[in-house]
Amino acid sequence: MTGGGRRVVITGAGTINSLGHDVPSTLEAMREGRCGIGPLDLRDVERLSVQIGGQVKGYDEQAHFNRQQIALYDRFTQFTLLAARQAMAQSGISFSGEESEMSGVVLGTAGGGVNTWDENYRTVYEEGKNRVHPFVVPKLMNNAAASHVSMEYNLRGPSFTVATACSSSNHAMGLAFQMIRSGMCRAMLTGGSEAMLCFGGVKAWEGLRVMSKDACRPFSANRNGMVQGEGAAVFVFEEYEHARARGAEILCEVAGFGMTADAADIVMPSAQGAERAMRGAMREAGLAPEQIGYINAHGTGTAANDKSECASVSHVFGPAADRLMISSTKSMHGHLIGGTGAVELLACIMALRDGVIAPTIGYEEPDPECALDVVPNTAREAKVSAVLSNAFAFGGLNAVLALRAA
């Protein structure tokens, strides 16, 4: 570690997404290269031109929450709370007294309560009603999930929500990391959530004409766009000495964070902005390119992202790019937009802890513009000691995390 500051480790992880309702089932799906993307089951799906997505299946909100909670929890909040519950249980941490004042929750989401917006717009516009449920605002607000997590676990320190489109979760986790590193906080619940798979949420994306109608095939020459997903992942980030003193199991270390803005275009990515973010994360972590064994790519499966991301990785890593593995797990769980970096961090933890590199599935044809080892179709066993997780958002906002094995 360079530059001083406290060390930050991860002591708990939780998730729900199209691959599984917890971390073990999600990692098993990633190891098996299973695809969570399928036909969308939602109201008015026949009026959508894109009818696939990585939807959370077999989910019954009533199995997890009571009537009063459901009245207040949008689907993105429910996902967050379920993931937070798992992360807290694994970590074994609890918050009281001064400890709770030095701990908080920073989460990412791009859309917040999109389902709540959608349902209530139907009520007033489609059904012509002039009255909506009294809790519409507290249910749809982007910070609802963070607030409910803070209430559930007595987190009284810095708490808020970050919305930077597809980089939201990485920005959230990067800020949580910095707060512990600086000594401001002792532990943070962090990650992100998205639940945008409703008629309006998919219809809006259709408009840009960047969505695939059949599959997400990152880095493949025949890729034809991104596929949306939904779900959440939440982690317990904790100051290293604190975790050690209480005998917590350490999943991995968060070692660096880089964030930049392209300042160029509202939708087209810039390789330079991505490069600076990767270099920034490695610099803070004190890691050289040769030490990075794996990158969890942003890898959306669009023509523009994958080409630009590979160019920036080749440029940053130089000759070391030949020994680097880079995969996009969006091929399996879809693009969770504001929650995506959080679910993808699970693949990074699996690489560091279990020595298993999640594959890029759906890979069919090599693309000379993506000439890196993209771990096509099948997971691979490999020992890696440091990894990066990339997120490059619309609006040119880039956020990259660097992690090390515990």
């Binding site: 960047v210 695939s212 939708v267």
Partner: protein, 88 residues
């Protein structure tokens, strides 16, 4: 207004040019229309002619909608109007 003139008017508006300055052999790029501008023009074409245009920005060359020149776009719109309004 003829179909061709309507298409040219949509493209001219996107390019911030007078319709008279748009020639049939121009490509969208010649007129300074980027990928986002193209997607917006296609939306305007769909709304104007009440048609659905098959176009994926990830693989424009593989879409059934030829965007290589203004003339190609006009021809593609003519075909779609004929096809989609005949079946309606």
């Amino acid at each position: 207004m003829e179909l061709r003139d309507k298409v040219i008017a949509i493209i001219a508006e996107q390019a911030m040019l007078e319709p008279g300055d748009v020639s049939l052999d121009n490509s969208p790029a010649d007129l300074g229309i980027d990928s986002l501008g193209l997607v917006e023009s296609i939306f305007a074409i769909e709304e104007t002619f009440d048609i659905s245009v098959p176009f994926n920005a990830n693989a424009p060359e593989e879409s059934e909608f030829d965007i290589s020149s203004v003339a190609a776009i006009v021809a593609a719109v003519e075909r779609l109007v004929q096809k989609q309004h005949a079946s309606a």
